[in-house]
Point group: C2
Chain length 205, copies 2
């Protein structure tokens, strides 16, 4: 069997298998993707260019789903919150993909579209032009970081007994990883929105 009458493989099938592997094991490889699809390793190269390409396709898949935010008809604060929430939710659905996304330039137009939406909202809010990219970047760091935390173990910082009293106090009685990551995200988002509001007021007066 060399060339089959109808293709055994497709870009979609490859991306699905790779993403499932990432969700289950935290990584993917060509041998494993090929094995899942019952195909030889080198066959993958008929549909994708290389490993980086698969990662970029996974990025596209993950950020393709969300319901669009109705930016124009919402007060800017609500629009921004909804956009950032949506953006983070996409990553929270596949937290183990985040480390792979982080080390690679964003080429997917869907994701760039989300940045565009944020830029529109921040502009409309009245944020100084040179502060728009810093604000989007800070938002990005927050969403990425708080999704990345879901990857880690129950206890990310494990301060040994006694030597770190303030940290131990702060950690005591905290919830699950999910709750803690959500709390950090909520805190950061509140603070960012408030910060943008203040910057806007200061620019006007």
């Amino acid at each position: 069997m060399a060339r089959p009458r109808s293709p055994l493989l497709s870009v979609d099938a490859i991306v699905t298998a790779a993403l499932a592997l990432v969700d289950e094991t935290g990584d993917f490889s060509f041998p494993k993707v090929a094995r899942r699809l019952g195909v030889s390793q080198s066959a993958l190269y008929n549909h994708i260019a290389n490993r980086e390409h698969i990662v970029e396709l996974m990025r596209g898949r993950v950020f393709a789903t969300p319901a669009p935010v109705d930016c124009e008809n919402l007060p800017w604060e609500e629009a921004l919150r909804a956009l950032v929430r949506t953006y983070r939710d996409c990553m929270v659905a596949h937290p183990r993909l985040v480390p792979l996304l982080i080390t690679q330039t964003v080429q997917d137009l869907g994701v760039i579209g989300i940045y565009e939406d944020m830029a529109v909202v921040l502009e409309r809010a009245g944020l100084a032009r040179q502060a728009v990219v810093p604000a989007i970047s800070a938002i990005d760091y927050l969403a990425l970081g708080s999704a990345l935390d879901l990857t880690g173990p129950e206890v990310v910082w494990a301060p040994p007994e006694g030597r770190f009293p303030a940290l131990s106090r702060a950690i005591a009685g905290l919830g699950s990883v999910e709750e803690r990551a959500e709390a950090a995200f909520a805190f950061g988002l509140d603070v960012l929105v408030a910060g943008v509001r203040e910057q806007v007021l200061r620019t006007i007066h």
Copy 2:
């Protein structure tokens, strides 16, 4: 030559070689570290446990250097700013190490010490106890993200012509990667400090 009269290798030498490789190439491997040190690959295992261990030792090395911040004698806002600055500076000195640090639990006591200092300052500022870890997390995301950005190419988001006007406007006339990462960090830090201040006021009244 089997066992030499004085050891050819040391933990320090391994960490130095690995960190140099990361700085130069963005990654390290056992064969490459061994080649640098003129030694066989398996010899490394006489001094370190595994790859993860080397990464954790690099973390320790990178965060060991900074001059300690005099937290007690500074107003909390200045102390916090200095702490976060110092923390970020350590990573900015080795931005290509950040992707390796991010996927691994923090075990190094030096780094946990920095978190402890932040917890002390935030407690002293009067931040509600359950907000301390979220605040430190958000700070961490910001420092990590803005260091990570130094890794990327000159243009992280490359919006194609025309379709993303607000983003294109925002990007136009921005500085180098370093300047943009610094601007995002400065923006985020300002906003975080202001956010903590506001939370404190709200808790008191």
